[in-house]
Symmetry: C3
Subunit: 268 residues, 3 copies
């Protein structure tokens, strides 16, 4: 049985290791897979998108996710069961919803209210350790989700606003969702958006980001472009992204998540 | 059986992975929990405090810790057994002592002197790999601590000076122990120190750090404060800490471990 | 059975976690050891050297390595078997060759061409997830290397140019291979090179790096030097390296991988 674990805890501190310890004290035989702990601090939307992208690649089990700026306040702690039988544990701030909806929809939601499945003393600032990790470990050992606390109405769960692109003829206004270690810039676009805007593979488009304008080639992979070319491509999670062949496009553009990117075909 | 592992090795290089390899060659069935490898390079006090804070959350087993600026010199390599049966492995520079004392006191101390439980060739600069990881793996497999080398007198072990706060009426002079990824600033204070200084929950205090002065609210959690408020709160390890609701207080204050912080109640 | 895993993926993103998920879906019982994911982005030579240095410390099994700037292009995906029975999986860009040659030589090489041992859909940009991780997992479960695809001629494999030092009497011209978290600067030198240049242990040598000149002491370990001394020593992988006792020599020198370092004995 598996617990997968995603958070904004980083790996500099002991947060992740301490949660591992808590899980292993409860469920020594459970395997933990760290999806990532590099979500930008408190960036719930980024966490939700990465969780939704990666969950299909994970073994079935319990998916623990903690990006929790409202810890200690009124947001509820949560466990969800999705249509395909996966379980999700985390805060009720929208973090878990896109992944669970993609995995067959949310079939059940329960508030983590049963103190038997939390640590003896629950702090006000580290629910990852005191509430979420113990709940995930108990679920992984076979405790039923109904045991964790009262059911919640699915349509009363907190949800995130995921930015929607504005797609016109030969132009798109998109938003940067994520920038990875290689400086690749993920946009809130899919191939369908490019097709609707009549962006043709193998052609050059104009990219406007802040005060800068660049040309980019629509390509299938880094290796299709010359070194130093900016390319617009479908990334491995089927999002449209910008990359610089052999370099870091995010540095070149001084790009940051949340920024607007305009794409125009050259004919315009 | 578990080996937990804390160090200042970071995760950029292969140091941690190589130690995992060494442990798994000796004890393939042992589970390793990485507590953290983000201790500031060579910062023995920080390592000792994080080890003491986190060990209660770890399964019982062997607790390997390596922050070892004196590697290759005269400091001795060490294994300890604490009163509650935990085992600790690391350098004799004070790193292991606070955790072991908190876990029922140091019952036995042995120098790692038996070459049967080290790698064949021991380098002068990487005892984590060549001495400490093999010793931890052998202990986890059931080798008795007495087998590793001669006993050491407990009161001859190296110990650290842990900074003590100066607490007066309505004022405290404290030291920054640690700053985490969220910029939260941990002080060498507990709730008892605040009570002795008559700092009342829910009130505003003055914080002086370097040349800067700020006001902070004494609060229970981030969610009690307005966004942008500096709060003074008891963190999840029961240390008093400074945080900025929704932000990074360490950046705001340009704070660093070892710096002095003065706290005054506003009445003064 | 073990899969060890080295890459330039870093730990900020989900790349490593997603590969773990893919491996565990195929081979839930396999243990994964993360050697390091901190190889500089696209730095194949650095990856190859770290893989060769660390593999002897790893349990036998499948050694997965991904530093792959040519992903999606014409470079072939590869599995190797070395003379001592280890298996290596990664791109045919020279990354695997030094490690496999050191482990008894390359006995067999196969292209990863059998779609049965890849994910159903193979992206153009993330072969770590879609090709290499599944191949490693299947090999670890006992699939024969011959099953993965057609054999390749060993002498047709891509190989790296490893920089060779220029050693004269009382002077060496070396290249920086790697800089670790402590700022220690690894050179493309062994003790034999120092001996050939008649650099005597315990003496002072002159180091020239860029426009800067420093004196360094040839020492066995950090503890042999005074705090603040630059030392030239044999590191734990038997490479000659520069360190600053108690500090960071790479920062002091503004050193970077690939730079030239000149060493002269003082008599000259």
């Amino acid at each position: 049985m598996f617990v997968t674990f995603l958070s904004d805890f980083g790996l500099q501190d002991d947060f992740v290791g301490t949660c591992h310890g808590v899980i292993k004290r409860i469920a020594p035989e459970i395997q933990i897979i760290d999806v990532t702990h590099g979500i930008d601090p408190r960036h719930v939307l980024q966490g939700a998108l990465v969780l939704a992208n990666t969950t299909p690649y994970m073994p079935e089990g319990v998916h623990l996710a903690v990006v929790d700026p409202g810890v200690g306040g009124s947001r509820r702690p949560l466990a969800l069961r999705s249509g395909d039988g996966r379980l999700f544990v985390g805060p009720d701030n929208g973090l878990l919803v896109p992944a669970a909806e993609q995995q067959g929809g949310i079939q059940a939601a329960h508030e983590l209210a049963n103190a038997d499945y939390a640590l003896h003393s629950v702090s006000r600032t580290f629910h990852g350790r005191d509430l979420f990790s113990p709940a995930a470990a108990h679920l992984a050992r076979g405790v039923a989700i109904e045991e964790l606390g009262p059911p919640l109405a699915v349509d009363a769960l907190a949800r995130l606003d995921i930015p929607v692109p504005d797609v016109g003829e030969n132009r798109i206004r998109a938003t940067i969702l994520y920038i990875d270690r290689f400086g690749n810039v993920q946009l809130n676009l899919t191939r369908e958006h490019l097709e609707r805007a009549e962006v043709v593979p193998g052609t050059t488009v104009e990219i406007e980001l802040g005060l800068e304008r660049y040309y980019a080639v629509t390509a299938r992979t880094f290796a299709d472009a010359r070194r130093g070319d900016v390319i617009l491509y479908e990334d491995s999670y089927r999002n449209i992204a910008l990359a610089l062949s052999g370099g870091n496009v995010a540095e070149l553009f001084a790009a940051a998540p949340g920024q607007e990117v305009r794409i125009r075909t050259r004919g315009v």
